[in-house]
């Protein structure tokens, strides 16, 4: 049942109003007004989203709320009708984006309290929320792409928020350019899809139309479209091979890392794959690629996170790794599991970043975990929140991450991807190791804080700790919406999403309890190892690092992927751009032509102007010669 629900537009209007207010009036009205409006519009937005979500829940399963806007593009038979739609899938997304977003906005008030550029910060943050909501509310692929590009822009603006530092500005550009590569694929995917359908007279990119006519798309076109769109997803959601921007994006303000680079924007790719599940189901090859890339990324990024000393970098690689899990889920056909992990991840990873931000705030910008330690008693709220988030990401039974990670691994195993499942399970152990390493290095052991910073080490203000507590609450219970079948409400989340993303059809029968026990066992080993290495025997890590020096260096330098890309892509590109395009084509051919033409006019003018000597009698003489010439010509004509 579809219900028209005009208030959906309000979800976009509030952040849009926030952008305009903060951008134009914010600097004039001052910090108080910005601090009120910036988070305020997000809470209003969250309220409307909740209203819509509750309305949706009351409708029968498979219903959707929609709000048609206006006709946007028109080109021959092709036209794009803008419209908003909330079904089960986008409903979950809207709740996550506006809810987590609202609390991170609130947290930002405290985090940015000492920054003079607060108005610009909040206008960017509101703009991000607006773009992200456009992305998830869009009822067609073109509008989704608008949001997709919008969040990319905001990501760039906020990574380079402190643009006075050239390295930060560089990292912003890096993120933007890497995303552009992915987005080119996304756009090509849209074109491929449109041309495949246009052959059969379907000129629409509306999701409902696409789903209705999915049968018309050939398997070849479906595979091509799926892979091209997934290329966009690898950029936005930081998967191999385009993940390199995300760790560098950590130079932005920490709430930005929490909101954009952990909780919401980077999950856009997962949402896109789940949204186009009918298309991916037609292309098993594309699905296999998605799952494989996901599992490989999860493992690969997890191993890098083990040795990183920077607290935010560990979390960044952890995000890449968790996004890999989500793609493993959706790639295995377990779309609801992927979205489920997306939701729980938004809670616990957003929380992890906010806690890290609280620590960094307390230590005046220190991010090196080697200069932390024993903060447990000094930052109690932060510590307990971080502990909960760590338990959640480590999939400790009862916490949210346990349910979502388990359903992904179960989906991977049951879809027949044994090796990918194994990789995922091992990654679960690695995740526990590096997360507890982070926790132990930061909050336990001996204090390695620089003496100058010790005396005013303090817990963050309430405006920052309240979001921590709220998110900690959700990081704990967020997974309870999906319980083992038969227990209480059972797999409510899967049943809720099933009308949109379809049912998962297992290819291999497995015992969920066995799989869960295995993964949990591996997680336990990871936690135990971290405990031994970083609490009981603090000398062990150095010993291991010294023993396997090559491997340690390789991990510390992130497999030197950045260097590889530099060698394979950046340098040839710069070489071609500079030597051939700049010096060859631009300077030699184009500038040369223009300069020569100018020079020719100038030198010929220089020669010819000598004729003008200013003496009127000379002019008269030449004039006379002309007259004689003309007369002679006519005389000649008359004579003959």
């Amino acid at each position: 049942m579809n219900l028209e629900f005009a208030a959906l537009a309000l979800i976009l209007v509030f952040p849009a109003a926030g952008v305009l207010f903060n951008l134009f009036l914010g600097p004039r009205l001052g910090r108080g007004a910005v601090n009120l409006v910036g988070p305020g519009v997000m809470f209003l937005c969250f309220a409307v989203a909740t209203w819509a979500f509750v309305t949706l829940m009351r409708l029968p399963a498979g219903s959707a709320l929609f709000c048609p806007l206006w006709r946007w593009l028109e080109a021959g038979s092709f036209h794009v009708e803008l419209g908003l739609k909330v079904d089960a899938l986008s409903g979950v997304m809207v709740m996550v984006v506006s809810g987590v977003g609202a609390f991170i906005h609130l947290y930002s008030v405290g985090y940015m309290a000492h920054d003079d550029d607060y108005a610009r910060y909040f206008s960017y943050l509101n703009l991000f929320a607006l773009s992200m909501l456009i992305l998830v509310l869009a009822d067609n692929l073109v509008m989704m792409f608008v949001g997709w590009e919008g969040v990319g822009l905001c990501s760039y603006l906020l990574i380079g928020f402190w643009y006075a530092n050239p390295q930060f500005a560089y990292n912003g550009r890096k993120a933007f350019i890497v995303n552009r590569i992915g987005d080119a694929g996304f756009l090509l995917g849209i074109f491929t899809l449109l041309s495949a359908l246009a052959h059969h007279g379907v000129w629409s990119l509306n999701f409902a139309d696409l789903q209705k006519h999915a049968g018309l798309i050939g398997s070849g076109a479906a595979t091509a479209t799926g892979l091209l769109l997934f290329m966009g997803a690898t950029g936005k959601s930081a998967q191999i091979p385009l993940y390199v921007w995300l760790p560098d994006a950590m130079v932005g303000p920490t709430p930005v890392s929490a909101l954009i680079h952990a909780a919401t924007m980077v999950t856009a790719g997962v949402y896109m794959v789940a949204r186009l599940n009918f298309l991916y189901m037609l292309a098993p090859d594309a699905m296999a690629v998605v799952a494989t890339i996901g599992a490989l990324t999860a493992f690969f990024a997890g191993t890098i996170a083990i040795v990183q000393p920077d607290i935010k970098r560990v979390l960044a690689y952890s995000t890449v790794s968790q996004l890999g899990y989500m793609f493993l889920g959706v790639g295995s056909g377990a779309f609801s599991a992927g979205i489920f992990h997306l939701m729980t991840h938004a809670f616990f990873k957003g929380l992890l970043f906010l806690c890290a931000g609280s620590v960094i705030h307390a230590l005046e910008g220190e991010q090196d975990m080697n200069k932390m330690g024993a903060l447990r008693t000094r930052l109690p709220v932060t510590f307990w929140s971080m502990l909960i988030a760590t338990l959640a990401i480590c999939a400790v039974p009862g916490f949210s991450g346990y349910f979502s990670k388990d359903s992904i691994l179960e989906g991977a195993y049951e879809s027949g991807h044994f090796w990918l499942w194994l990789l995922g399970a091992i990654t679960a152990g690695i995740t526990c190791f590096y997360m507890f390493r982070l926790l132990f290095m930061t909050f336990f052991g001996e204090s390695r804080v620089e003496p100058g910073k010790l005396h005013h080490l303090h817990e963050s203000p309430a405006i920052m700790t309240i979001p921590l507590v709220v998110l900690a609450f959700f990081a704990t219970i967020g997974g309870w919406v999906e319980l083992p079948v038969g227990l209480l409400w059972g797999d409510a989340f899967t049943r809720f999403l099933a009308p949109v993303v379809g049912d998962f059809k297992p290819a291999v029968v497995a015992s969920p309890a066995m799989l869960s026990a295995l993964a949990t066992g591996l997680s336990g080993i990871g936690i135990l190892l971290a405990y031994v290495c970083y609490l009981r025997l603090p000398g062990v890590p150095q010993l291991v690092a010294a023993r396997f020096k090559g491997l340690y260096q390789l991990l510390l330098e992130k497999y030197r992927i950045d260097e590889l890309y530099d060698l394979l892509v950046t340098r040839p590109l710069f070489f071609i751009s500079d030597q051939i395009l700049n010096k060859g084509i631009d300077q030699l051919v184009i500038d040369g032509t223009a300069n020569r033409a100018g020079l020719a006019v100038e030198s010929s003018g220089e020669a010819v102007r000598r004729v003008e000597d200013g003496n009127v009698q000379h002019y008269a003489f030449v004039y006379l010669l002309g007259v004689i010439g003309i007369v002679a010509y006519y005389v000649y004509l008359v004579m003959h």
């Binding site: 102007r609 000598r610 003008e612 000597d613 200013g614 003496n615 009127v616 009698q617 008269a620 003489f621 006379l624």
Partner: protein, 100 residues
């Protein structure tokens, strides 16, 4: 009655003197007088041909030419006096301000 060809020859001769004077003499006052010579040579040709053809056209045009010549003489002389006051010369070779 004087033959037309004589009159035309006289007109051409005066005109040639005017042209030569304009081209050869360096004093702009004299060059100016040469222009007047050329104008009157043309007037003579108009009158002669008009009388020969028995129409009024030639004489009409001559009146126009004389009017224009009078105006031109006034303006031209004013310019020459002004030049002389500023530059203290009326020598054409010295008045080449518009050269390259």
């Amino acid at each position: 009655m004087v033959q037309l060809s004589w009159l035309m020859a006289l007109s051409a001769a005066i005109f040639a003197i005017g042209v030569a004077g304009f081209l050869i003499r360096r004093n702009i006052l004299v060059m100016f007088m040469s222009i007047e010579l050329m104008l009157n040579a043309v007037n003579l040709a108009f009158i002669s041909l008009g009388s020969r053809l028995g129409t009024m056209d030639g004489q009409t045009i001559v009146f126009f030419v004389m009017t224009v010549a009078a105006a031109e003489a006034a303006v031209g002389l004013a310019i020459i006096i002004s030049i002389f006051r500023n530059r203290e010369t009326v020598h054409a070779d010295d008045l080449t301000l518009l050269r390259w």
